[in-house]
């Protein structure tokens, strides 16, 4: 069963993902940290699907689909920004600062 330990592991991984978004400046690493957070949420769904029914595993499918779409569009945006500024460092991406 391992319900509590799974949810605790999920909480740990989500926290590590949030910390990664805060401490890194590379846009690609930021995206990888978002993927880590999505993985942590998937683990929650799978752990609770043991108790609350198989719908949780169906939701994991949808989360994976959205994650794949987000990665494709996000990386395309990073490519476009890289052509413009020759960098993926967030300190060089300040077009909206005025």
């Amino acid at each position: 069963m391992l319900l509590g330990p799974s949810l605790l592991l999920s909480a740990l991984l989500f926290t590590i993902g949030v910390a990664g978004v805060v401490i890194r400046r590379n846009a690609i690493v930021l995206f990888m940290c978002v993927e880590l957070m999505l993985n942590a949420v998937n683990l929650t769904f799978v752990a609770l699907s043991q108790v609350l029914g198989l719908a949780g595993q169906v939701i994991v499918f949808f989360v994976m689909t959205v994650a794949a779409a987000e990665a494709a569009v996000g990386l395309a945006i990073i490519l476009a920004v890289f052509r413009h500024t020759r960098s993926v460092d967030l300190k060089n991406i300040n077009l909206l600062q005025g």
């Binding site: 909480a11 926290t15 993927e35 198989l54 499918f61 395309a76 490519l79």
Partner: protein
């Protein structure tokens, strides 16, 4: 080894890999540690009786999505030069935010089926811990009758058919959007 020992080993491996993922200076190494975290999670899904999700995790996440990431990293040839880690004040803020979030989420570790049954108002402790969860009993017994894939296909193509079809539109829009964004001139 019992399933619990294997679970804790994999959980420790997943956490260490995730920590290395966010602290490695080299982006390729960072991506590889993320792949390692995803593989550990896939193994944990098998322990949690979600074999099909584990297979999809390896195929889609560790396979397709991470290859896309590595592709972009190598295409842009980034990761050379100095570290992209932020300075000490921001790291302190990160520790504070992470600590606060973890303190809130820490209570999740105390969730048990019996405790959830009490929250639902069901008769807790009546024999098996699964007594108050008819859906959970279905989830446990359905794979034996219908197979691992069939048990998930049933709700996916009946109850969640409309979201499933909407997902295809989302993927089409994402594919077209990625091409439009990444192309130099349309």
């Amino acid at each position: 080894m019992s399933a619990e020992v294997v679970f804790y080993l994999l959980a420790g491996f997943a956490v260490v890999s995730a920590l290395l993922c966010i602290t490695q200076r080299n982006i390729i190494a960072s991506a590889m540690w993320l792949v390692s975290t995803m593989f550990s999670l896939a193994a944990i899904y098998v322990i949690l009786n979600a074999q099909f999700i584990a297979a999809i995790q390896v195929l889609v996440y560790a396979g397709a999505v991470m290859v896309l990431f590595l592709f972009v990293i190598m295409l842009l040839n980034v990761g050379r030069g100095g570290s992209d880690l932020r300075g000490a004040p921001v790291r302190l803020v990160a520790v504070l935010i992470g600590g606060g979030l973890l303190a809130q989420l820490f209570l999740l570790g105390r969730v048990t089926p019996g405790g959830m049954a009490v929250l639902r108002g069901a008769a807790a402790g009546a024999g098996s811990p699964m007594a108050g969860f008819p859906e959970g009993q279905v989830a446990m017994s359905a794979p034996a009758a219908q197979g691992v894939v069939g048990a998930i296909a049933e709700p996916l193509f009946r109850q969640y058919l409309v979201p499933f079809e909407l997902t295809s539109i989302l993927l089409l829009a994402a594919a077209v959007g990625a091409v439009v964004l990444a192309k130099r001139k349309l």
